[in-house]
């Protein structure tokens, strides 16, 4: 089993993701510079957070058009796993790996906070180690994290159980007040049609060890590892 963490100019959570994979979860991973491309097949690709290309044009817009993304898309088409975190989520949406887009927060400022998430789907390769409805805690750090998609797409995502996480309060109630960025239906984690791509704004790699205040995010990586092992 081997993971790749894709590094663009301006990625800044790439090493955190590597640390979690290698040191916390104990799996092998390569940091792959986007210009070098992939020299082998990987079981999972992580597109990390950061500010690729300084968020020029729109967050993720430029990175999406780099040649390496064609390989990420064909990797995803083959059914293998892609986890897009924060800027990686924006890139995943821009690439069409998941529908919709992550755009400027309702109140247009950068939010850096710890939030509660409710696990909406616990049957995906990313969430199988959570309980459905479980309340978990992770940090968010973004200015363009408001999920927007046409109403019929959002209905479809809800119907097809493709919403992985929603912002909620401490009790797990999905409320207006617990929605930090104005995202549609409090959605902050979206799965692709075959559930092998997860685009999420919160940072599980920053919440994978108790010493960081929460290890709730670790089970995303562990779920991916369990999914790959089971294959």
């Amino acid at each position: 089993m081997r993971f790749a963490v894709l590094q663009f100019g301006g990625s800044n959570c790439d090493r955190d993701a590597m640390h979690v994979l290698e040191d916390v979860c104990g799996v092998e991973a390569d940091l792959v510079w986007y210009k070098d491309g992939f020299s082998r097949d990987y079981d999972g690709i992580i597109i990390p957070g950061g500010f690729s290309y300084g968020d020029y044009l729109r967050a993720g817009a430029i990175a999406t058009r780099t040649p390496v993304m064609k390989d990420v898309i064909s990797h995803a088409r083959s059914g293998r796993l892609v986890l897009g975190i924060c800027n990686g989520a924006q890139i995943s949406a821009e690439s069409g790996l998941v529908p919709g887009t992550f755009t400027t927060n309702e109140y247009p400022k950068f939010i850096c906070d710890r939030v509660y998430l409710r696990v909406e789907n616990n049957s995906s390769p990313f969430t199988s180690l959570y309980e459905k409805g479980e309340v978990i805690r992770m940090p968010i750090a973004h200015k363009e994290g408001r999920y927007v998609a046409p109403d019929d797409i959002v209905e479809k995502l809800e119907r097809e159980n493709r919403v992985a996480f929603k912002f909620c309060n401490e009790k797990g109630e999905v409320t207006l007040n617990s929605n930090p960025n104005g995202t549609m239906n409090n959605i902050t984690g979206v799965l692709s049609e075959n559930a092998n791509v997860l685009a999420m704004m919160p940072h599980p790699e920053r919440a994978a060890e108790k010493v960081l205040g929460s290890d709730d995010g670790k089970r995303i990586f562990d779920s991916m590892i369990a999914h790959i092992e089971a294959q």
């Binding site: 729109r58 817009a61 821009e94 887009t101 755009t103 400027t104 309702e106 247009p108 927007v148 998609a149």
Partner: protein, 81 residues
């Protein structure tokens, strides 16, 4: 033939424009009460093309493939010689 192209990317009607709302608020702090305010982004491009139609077609392709995100944006293209 050389053409001068203005591509204007705006949010689709009904889309929340947080930046516009903040600007409108700041304007009202200065005593300018505006009824409507929206933001847009203009790309000014010089382009070599066979004719005006070809220049427009290339510009549309640029919008579709990079400059606009079809989920939230609409665009207009103005081509001048």
């Amino acid at each position: 033939m050389k053409y001068k192209i203005d591509i204007t990317i705006s949010l689709k009607g009904g889309m929340l424009d947080p930046e516009a709302r903040a600007i409108q608020h700041a304007l009202s702090n200065l005593g300018f009460n505006t009824e409507n305010l929206s933001t847009a982004r203009v790309f000014k491009i010089d382009l070599e093309a066979e004719d005006k139609d070809a220049a427009r077609a290339r510009s549309e392709e640029m919008c579709e493939r990079l400059l606009a995100n079809p989920v939230i944006h609409s665009y207009t293209i103005e081509v001048r010689e």
